[in-house]
């Protein structure tokens, strides 16, 4: 065995332990009987612990030091593994265990606090999470801002300053658009979005279209139900998405296509990275660019509904009665400021993210105290969206992220939105891709995405990938132009 073979074997074991943990987690959300939860938690902790132990063992370090990679594939594996190893070994085991316990406690406190809309009871736990985030940033090290050390876990190489600059540009150029839309008024009929649509028919239609339009099939994937939709995968041929059925039936459809975007990214990662740390999406932001592209740029486009409206008619004639493709397109593109991030439309969504980014930056710096957070939240909601939450449950307590210690995570949603349009515009430079998109035939686009984005896995950084695929660094320009064009037309703003 060469040193690389030995390293490969070890990385393969780490990958397998991670896949097993993912499967246990997926199953916990989909099929697991309720009484199984406690021991399942212990099993997941064991898998995480053994995986961490195996990966951070001195033997791994010695292999990474001694290995002489042969060729590009091996070089990428070693590069990514070295980066992960350096990050993982910088956190002492005692810190990781402490953080895991604190996350667990904070999560339970958050569930209780949200249920009773009682921020005060959650505040001490959030303070603890912020302390841990600061300590983690110190342990990891950073040049400019502690936030840089945190966001790097989700968006490798991204910096707080870059997020601030891109977000400021986006904010300054979409606030006027939003004001115009609100001033234009909205006389459309949205009742269609809650017409009765049987649960099985919703799921079947969403899944069939995910296959026909986006290539997600039962050969290597499956769809199940869970309380919160997500994508998970245990190899590129073992992918799961979940959905949820609501009275508001677009949630199931667009949610399915969103998860299909994540799924097809993982599917497209080249098999030469199998069971190595390269075999995953480049970042959460790049991942989100794929899910939002399928969900919004394609799924909420007019050509899409011109193509799939007949299938919707067949699947749910009572929903489409009296409508045509254009009317449906109009209904699923309502812009309306709202309190809840996950229900927000394409125009207002990013304000929810900016607000969270600004607040977590202030919390981390200490310029905002946890005690004053609800007030700061409500002030920003008023400033951006003209709304004030009636209670903290529909305000500062709505998201799980902070309770799980995910500081630096929120910006990736908006980075993904921006990148989705930037990528789609780049792809449209290819005439075949553009013609396909305009007919809602996405084969050429999907091939372009595999070539430019998916296949590389984590072998390119998000910034490298963005420049290589689109020709320039991440920018708000394409997204702003997209929103202005699309909603200018829908709301007759010109």
């Amino acid at each position: 065995m060469t040193t690389f073979d030995e390293l490969s074997r070890r990385l393969g074991q780490v990958s397998d332990l991670g896949a097993a943990a993912s499967l246990l987690s997926w199953e916990q959300e989909t099929f697991m009987p309720p009484e199984a939860a406690r021991v399942r938690g212990l099993q997941l902790a064991t898998l995480a612990g053994l995986s961490h132990e195996l990966f951070t063992a001195p033997e791994t370090g010695a292999l990474l030091d001694g290995v002489q990679p042969d060729g590009d594939t091996q070089a990428a594996v070693v590069r990514v593994a070295r980066r992960d190893y350096a990050k993982a070994t910088r956190l002492p085991t005692a810190f990781v265990e402490d953080r895991t316990r604190a996350q667990n406690e904070a999560h339970h406190a958050w569930v209780h606090a949200r249920e009773h809309s009682d921020f005060a009871s959650f505040a001490p736990y959030l303070e603890r999470m912020m302390d841990l985030a600061r300590r983690q940033a110190d342990l990891r090290g950073f040049e400019d801002h502690p936030y840089d050390a945190l966001i790097d876990d989700y968006e490798p190489g991204m910096r707080a300053a870059q997020v601030q600059s891109v977000f400021a540009d986006l904010r300054d150029r979409t606030l006027p658009l939003l004001e115009k839309i609100r001033a234009a008024g909205d006389a459309a009929d949205y009742g269609v979005l809650t017409r009765p649509f049987p649960a099985d028919a919703q799921k079947a239609f969403a899944w069939r279209v995910a296959g026909e339009a986006f290539g997600l099939t039962g050969d290597f994937a499956r769809q199940d139900e869970s309380a919160h939709p997500f994508q998970s995968n245990f190899s590129r041929s073992d992918i799961r998405i979940t959905t949820r059925v609501e009275e508001y039936w677009p949630a199931c459809l667009f949610g399915t296509w969103h998860e299909a975007g994540h799924a097809m990214y993982e599917r497209g990662v080249h098999e030469r990275w199998e069971r190595t740390p390269v075999s995953a999406g480049a970042s959460l932001g790049v991942h989100e660019s794929q899910s939002r592209m399928f969900e919004n740029l394609l799924g909420r486009s007019l050509p899409f509904w011109q193509r799939y409206f007949p299938q919707l008619q067949e699947a749910a004639p009572q929903v489409t009665a009296g409508l045509d493709a254009a009317a449906l397109y109009r209904a699923v593109n309502r812009v309306q400021p709202s309190l809840i991030r996950v229900e927000a439309d394409e125009v207002t969504y990013n304000f929810h993210v900016m607000l969270r980014f600004e607040l977590e930056l202030a919390l981390l710096e200490g310029s905002l105290s946890v005690r004053d957070l609800p007030e700061a939240w409500n002030a920003k909601m008023q400033a951006y969206l003209g709304l004030t939450p009636p209670d903290d449950a529909s305000g500062v307590l709505q998201d799980i992220h902070w309770s799980a210690g995910l500081i630096g995570y929120f910006p990736t949603y908006t980075l993904g939105n921006l990148l989705s349009v930037q990528l789609l515009e780049a792809a449209r430079q290819d005439a075949g891709v553009a013609a396909g998109i305009d007919r809602a035939e996405y084969g050429p686009l999907r091939a372009w995405l595999v070539e430019q984005v998916h296949q590389h896995g984590r072998s390119l950084s998000p910034a490298e990938l963005t420049v290589q695929a689109t020709g320039w660094p991440l920018s708000a320009d394409p997204y702003v132009a997209y929103l202005t064009r699309k909603y200018g037309e829908i709301y007759n703003l010109n």
Copy 2:
């Protein structure tokens, strides 16, 4: 941390890895998309390898040597773990890996051979499996017969000589019964057993009765479909059974109740053994005693159908049309020699097992060569059941066991049958239990089983458990008496 705490932590990790592997295997048979199979195999190999490594590590041995167990619970954990450790470390890693590869190859060869009814193509692989079995017996060590070292994996403490003696007794006393039944003729109408019974209704009825009669509920268990029914569990609160729907609908019903017997055994293991090697059934034979009790002794009894016939009428009126409980009871208790073990009735089933036991003993001893196996198989089928298989696919190639290296496994099916009646007779000594059984109310019986069988897990050997629960060692007497009584009545033999 005391030494026992350290040992506990390690055994807990081994248990968690095993549970994760079981979940991956269960999911492979129920939900996994087809293309996922290859990598899933690698993941399962990693989990098995890491678990073996962790358990057989010198550190485990040192803990087992140094530990001073405090109290009965700890003592049982240490006793069982020491026994497992001694067995596991007696097989060199090279041997285990070699055997795993050989099993994998033999399995594929068997699938192909069975499909083409081509024993000759499987023979070299079976020879290899027998060689490995002999080597394994030598590595493990034995006093009287190499078979003793093999059956010990499935039925701890059992010996070939004891199996021979019990089986001879059983054979000599059931062959005359079978002859009488065959001579009596059979004019019953079995067409009811293939009347149309919608798949969902079959599963729902089987599952509902498994809950009401046997206590298996969605709080801690679930039922799914798979090609071959099985029970699996990842903790005593995380249990799965699978079923298969056929035109012959009793397969789904009795199969479900069979697996419910396995499931309720695992459910009944005391939680003080959680995440230790004690937390499982005492042996395959004891396990089978529980599954066969629910499936046959209860599920195929007249009181059972007197109680549940109305529910069957409601679930499938087209199946029960023109029938009553007694007619249904009669139909599901047909005795008819047949070629396939898994389809055999209560009277003929054990002959299938005896035949296999005798053949694998002869193969192991070398008194029978693999080349001559099909002929020997067919001769015994003729002698016991008066049938000759038309081809090897429905003869010597029908079972997966030998291809998987499971030599010494088959007898546990019949040992389980015998024990099922011996246990039920012992339980009936309690008047409340007996009255319940006669009304098909199994609460008191289930409490007795938890007390006498389930809760002990692996802390008692099968022989200890049998004597403690029934007052005497395993015997064919109760089973022979049961068959004679039940089928004497059904076939009017007296």
